[in-house]
Symmetry: C2
Subunit: 331 residues, 2 copies
């Protein structure tokens, strides 16, 4: 891909992100009571990549639609995403999100539960604004994403008390928790953009596979990230004892002392920050960092293969650029 292409896509992303930010802010401007909507505005003002709205926009365009008809739907998926963040942060007892206090730490748990519920309610409200035809399909796709994200979160919670999580279990979990959401973004974009059944299926599968790649990349970054760029503590997943792609792969390969070390992570529900490097070495020795990279590449390729059906080269290219950016991202 040429530098000019890359610059033009990066410019487009920045431009559209600004538009999305504005609609997000406006969505809560005149709502009362403040006790409900101030916390909602707090979480929405903390930034974020806004990748899910971008998927809606690009999917609509890729099938011949226009951005202008799916801005509200784009905002809807971002609101849904933030609903999951707010409730997940309570469940994970997380202190920080995007460098700021999580909603339930800034306010309290009750406020955060209700703010999450409210984000979801307004998500549907915004989705409906762009439903002019195909409403049942669009709302069904959105709802399917919501049902699955709840199931995925429950599966991930189960992992905390399950010692023998397999790669199969892990993939089922991320398909529901992460990939169902990116798949849904592409489906509703393509539906609202007027795509044919074949086009809708293709961009949906792009969304699903890129979501899986994205999550494994997330797991990988936790250990290969550079603290300064990463923005969070490197090795955080190990410290918390999370069953990531790397950890599960490592455990399935390890023998002897290394296996014992890995089992200790489960037994002690995590490791000390001072031990992160030691475990990174184990991951490297067992080649699970390479395994992860291969897995990310494989799912990204599967995602991109779907795009052959798209009529315009430019549409394929921008998805390619997005996929590249996700793989190369540092945070």
């Amino acid at each position: 891909m040429s530098n000019t292409d890359q610059q033009s896509f990066s410019f487009l992303y920045d431009r559209e992100r600004i538009k999305i930010e504005k609609i997000l802010i406006d969505a809560f401007k005149n709502r009362k009571p403040d006790s409900l909507y101030e916390p909602v505005k707090y979480i929405l003002s903390s930034g974020g990549k806004r990748l899910r709205p971008l998927l809606v926009l690009l999917s609509a365009k890729a099938v011949g639609g226009s951005f202008s008809k799916v801005y509200n739907a784009s905002v809807a998926v971002e609101l849904l995403h933030n609903f999951t963040l707010v409730h997940d942060d309570i469940m994970d007892n997380a202190d920080k999100r995007r460098g700021r206090l999580t909603l339930h730490k800034k306010y309290d748990e009750n406020t955060a539960i209700l703010a999450g519920d409210s984000l979801l309610s307004v998500a549907y409200e915004y989705l409906l604004k762009d439903c002019n035809g195909r409403t049942k399909y669009v709302v069904s796709a959105f709802t399917k994403g919501l049902v699955e994200v709840c199931e995925g979160q429950s599966l991930e919670k189960d992992f905390e008390t399950t010692n023998n999580v397999s790669i199969y279990d892990y993939k089922l979990m991320i398909m529901k928790k992460t990939a169902a959401m990116s798949e849904m973004c592409c489906t509703i974009g393509a539906l609202l953009g007027g795509g044919s059944p074949k086009e809708i299926k293709a961009v949906s599968l792009f969304g699903k596979n890129i979501g899986i790649a994205f999550q494994i990349q997330d797991d990988l970054l936790d250990i290969t990230g550079v603290e300064k760029e990463f923005g969070k503590k490197v090795g955080g997943d190990l410290i918390e004892g999370k069953k990531t792609f790397l950890f599960i792969s490592a455990l399935s390969k390890a023998k002897g002392n290394e296996r014992k070390k890995l089992l200790n992570v489960i037994k002690n529900k995590g490791i000390k920050p001072s031990e992160v490097n030691e475990y990174k070495n184990i991951y490297e020795k067992l080649e699970v960092i390479d395994d992860s990279k291969k897995e990310i590449k494989s799912y990204t390729d599967r995602a991109l293969t779907q795009l052959k059906i798209l009529k315009k080269e430019k549409d394929r290219k921008i998805f390619q650029w997005l996929a590249d950016s996700l793989i190369k991202r540092i945070k």
Copy 2:
């Protein structure tokens, strides 16, 4: 109304409630993971009046539709209602619901947050099953109900720390927290039943006004209920220091020592169980029990006035029977 009519309506309610129960149970039969859906089944198996589904059914019928086309939508409103109960119980730190442990006490708070989210997701799924035409209007009405119930819950939470709650504030709160929900039930029933705009407006206003009457009746029952029939502690609202219709009315009328007594409820965030009778006497002396009854009658009349537009006398009668039952209910 004749005894025969009453018996036939009561029979119809029992029959339809059994059907609703069955669909509710079937809705979660084959879903996984159990960690998510067992708690959901727990809350749904604890009974309840299932009045909201009945409103959907009757509204559809009243405008010429049939029950058979709105069973899934009826189940959807009950799921939405249970979503609010599960999350509200966490926020209120309630121990018991319908004589059993609340969901977050039976399991834990995280499980209850996620079970609530899941109830809402499946609510939309069921609503969509009955959307064959008018989908955008139906989902919009449902979503409007959800937005308002979140706002109403937030307003009620605000009451806990607000000393000068007025009757106006109170009515705004119950309109959002209770009446928006019964209004929505009637709206979607009438929409799916194929009602004309005038019919939809009429049954919606029936739902709204009957919801207000229902909530004031709820406040009244807390103090006039007979423990054995009521199923909960009489005077519970006073013990918890809740700003009910009776309390706010009493405070606005009281002078001297009675006013001081009422202000103590606010100051101490509630009263002792042994003091309930004393406060009941104050309510009686200030005639706020009579005031509440008049208010309930007034909103019930407003609800019933709307029904003049209905073509069949039987449809008007069954709503009349429902309104009577709500006023005469003892729990």
